[in-house]
Symmetry: C2
Subunit: 482 residues, 2 copies
């Protein structure tokens, strides 16, 4: 670890342990420089890292302070899905969400689109123009089935940050993370197989289970620590689980980061039952704290973990460029990749290789992390102000999604119907469950850089949710029909 | 039909019926104008169409002539695959073919890449630059799941040429034709199902059967008229066929166009057994004769045909943009499209909508048809000169692939191994059969505009094939081991 990163980690720990408290002034740059025997610029760099993580805030001419802590809404409790394998339902809700092309006045708080309007993506647009203009016309032909080597080299380099040493020859480029998940499921499972998943869980993965005739065994999941290992162990004792599928870092939709100790424990458990793990790391790079969390794959010593990821959340979804690190399943994955869509488009791969290789990825991702963290705090505030009292709100440590749990009888599908006239859409909670649980929850996207737009939209959602909740209370007070 | 097209069809018929013979001078433009009561420019346009189809050749200052016919090598006979459902094999050969990225001195006569260096694609490159530069950043975000409406409108317009009237709302954009085939197979079939296919048949479709646990029932196929309806009927009497999968127009690899009467008869047969048809039309636009052949879908009155196609062969494979017209299966296809790879990349769709909508597609495709037809004649000549005598050669009526059948004991897999030192690759015939038949055949791509390069490569293949065939004859003459 570099000096400034080490210093940032030390200071961050002191703040989190309460050594410096909200509102406290932190030591001056000069004082820290003397205390730690490092240069002024190293301390400044460390403070910038902490600022990006939201742990300190600079005040002009006064130095760095620990930000005042606002009253946060309470978090949801551990989830309690059905503890048996079930067929996945809810396709209609998902279809409604993905059918509409973006644009116009419609605010899609429900989709997983990152901020694609950041000025830090300008070099990407330039790279796309370069790729389109190339006189060797490579962007018009077929690539090799495993994808561009130049891009795989960059991905291998980026993966070092998550603790993974993977050679480019073990990476397969896919059409977004969705194809990585879909071909992995097909390569490993047979119809009827049981897949253990965190719950709530990404609907795209769950719909793939549905399409392939696989059964979802939803495991209770804690909004702070992730999947319950205790519940998972019980489930694995009881059922022949074929694969464990989860998103341990900056989870979608809950936003938690699974602690490293639990990642290791999960591996031990999977080894005991000799079950592979499919790790969805698509949001992992968007953790607010630096350095980014380690992947489960980075602790994997017996090649049990298949890691799926993409540039869709970190850079731009329209590139449709993801990857899978399939370990011992490389040959089968190549076969399924070939039959699923053949080779991937060369042009986005060239553009990404130029963008990442040219050093534009790191500053972009630092900027996005800081922006998303700020937006998380703002949206949490707006939800606290406009949603019915008693709403429970997740506390994401990365990504750009907030999860809100409402009154137990609340109907988020009806909420979405009502919101149509407001030109707003949220993600109804039930699409994140195989059996339609979480219908009283919603997921909100806070990536959009146009804050007044999302503030207005969130307040509309809050007002509508409050109206529907009031109706619930009225009905509860009505005398039962004779 | 327009006047010039009508006139071209009339003249074309007279030539094919032998009314004008090879070497004959055709009537002058003025004479035809008077005979048919049409304008000079209409006759000139008709002659241009016939010239593009290779039916006439202009001689400076002398008028139009019927080209001298060269001695053509004999064509292969009706194929005779195993007449029972089999599991698909041969993945290793396919993998070897698709693993290598293009470039360098290596000549890939084995892959299905069209000519992407044509000047008529310049407007496409410009359109890609426009899409990358768009300030609304649409090319970076998610599209709707069904794909760009602007592009679907253009596809609907193009499909009129094949006799199909399909509204844009019934078209689903896919990641190339391969994804269209893969999701259709998954949407209609269950593991263990039997699929009747023409034989030889495209390896990408066949590998999809393999990956999904489907069985291939290969039907004898005639290199001139396509799949044997008689054999198909017998097969359907005997086996519970779930789907008929075929490429009736400019077939890959045989190059035939199934006559319209047989397309209708196929539909009648499919209706009798109530079986859907998956029609691969990916080469249909590349028929040498004008107008392009009708699709089976265009005769379909009870919504039995799913049509899959793409811009990979007509424009550029690197765009990875195809489509499926799923008829009554629209909802299921959307589900499988969603789980397979989510939405398609917007940028190539925008570029294609601009390219096609801007009127650049038609002149490009006319140019390609003429080029591929010329190349077919040249490659047929080179094969005739350099391949062992007795080789049988297909007579493609569209596309850019030649099929060559060699000595019955010839081993095209070994040929490919030997060709590595020559930096040439062909497609070994056995990958076009579920059971590894056609190992004595090869498929050669003649799209490349750099004629000296492909001529040299074909002559190397011919020399190598001749050497291996001579070895076969030597061994045949050796006394049997005691």
């Amino acid at each position: 670890m570099k000096r400034y990163a080490q210093l940032a980690a030390t200071l961050g720990e002191r703040i989190e342990q309460g050594l410096y408290r909200p509102g406290d002034r932190l030591p001056s740059v000069r004082a820290l420089s003397e205390e730690h025997g490092v240069s002024i610029s190293t301390v400044q760099q460390a403070y910038r890292v902490l600022e990006d993580s939201g742990l300190v805030e600079p005040r002009p001419k006064s130095g760095y302070f620990v930000p005042e802590r606002r009253e946060l809404p309470p978090m949801p409790a551990m989830t309690r899905p059905a503890q048996r394998p079930v067929d996945v339902s809810q396709w209609d809700q998902v279809l409604e969400q993905v059918r509409r092309a973006p644009g116009g006045d419609f605010v899609q708080l429900g989709r997983g689109t990152p901020d694609i309007a950041s000025p830090s993506l300008k070099p990407l647009q330039r790279a796309m123009v370069h790729a389109a203009r190339r006189t060797d016309l490579q962007s018009l032909g077929y690539e090799g089935i495993q994808g561009s080597l130049a891009l795989r080299e960059q991905i291998a380099r980026l993966m070092l940050d998550s603790g993974c040493q993977v050679p480019p020859s073990e990476i397969v480029i896919t059409t977004g993370c969705q194809e990585a998940l879909a071909i992995t499921l097909r390569a490993i499972c047979e119809p009827g197989d049981i897949i253990a998943i965190d719950s709530p869980s990404f609907h795209g993965a769950m719909q793939a289970l549905k399409a392939y005739g696989l059964k979802a065994l939803e495991i209770p999941t804690d909004p702070t620590n992730g999947i319950s290992l205790e519940a998972l162990e019980l489930a694995m004792e009881q059922w022949p689980v074929k694969l464990i599928l989860l998103t341990p870092n900056c989870n979608n939709p809950l936003g938690y980061i699974m602690p490293d100790a639990r990642k290791r424990a999960l591996l031990t458990l999977a080894a005991r039952y000799d079950v592979p793990i499919l790790e969805d790391d698509v949001y992992g790079e968007l953790a607010y704290a630096y350095p980014r969390p380690r992947s489960i794959k980075s602790f994997d010593t017996d090649d049990r973990v298949l890691l799926a990821s993409s540039f869709s959340k970190t850079v731009a979804p329209g590139l449709r460029t993801g990857w899978v690190v399939p370990g011992r399943y490389l040959d089968r994955i190549l076969h399924f990749k070939y039959i699923a869509s053949g080779t991937c488009a060369p042009q986005p791969q060239m553009a990404l290789a130029e963008f990442v290789g040219g050093g534009h990825y790191e500053p972009h991702i630092r900027r996005m992390r800081a922006q998303y963290q700020r937006h998380r705090d703002l949206m949490t505030e707006w939800v606290g102000q406009s949603f019915p009292s008693g709403s429970l709100v997740s506390r994401p440590r990365g990504g750009f999604m907030l999860w809100v749990e409402l009154h137990p009888q609340f109907d988020s599908v009806r909420l979405n119907q009502e919101l149509r006239r407001d030109n707003v859409q949220v993600a109804a909670g039930n699409i994140f469950s195989a059996s339609g649980k979480y219908r009283n929850c919603i997921r909100l996207n806070y990536s959009n850089r146009d804050l007044p737009v999302i503030e207005a939209a969130v307040r509309k959602v809050g007002a509508c949710a409050a109206r529907l909740t009031a109706e619930l209370h009225e009905h509860a007070e009505e005398p039962l029909p004779a």
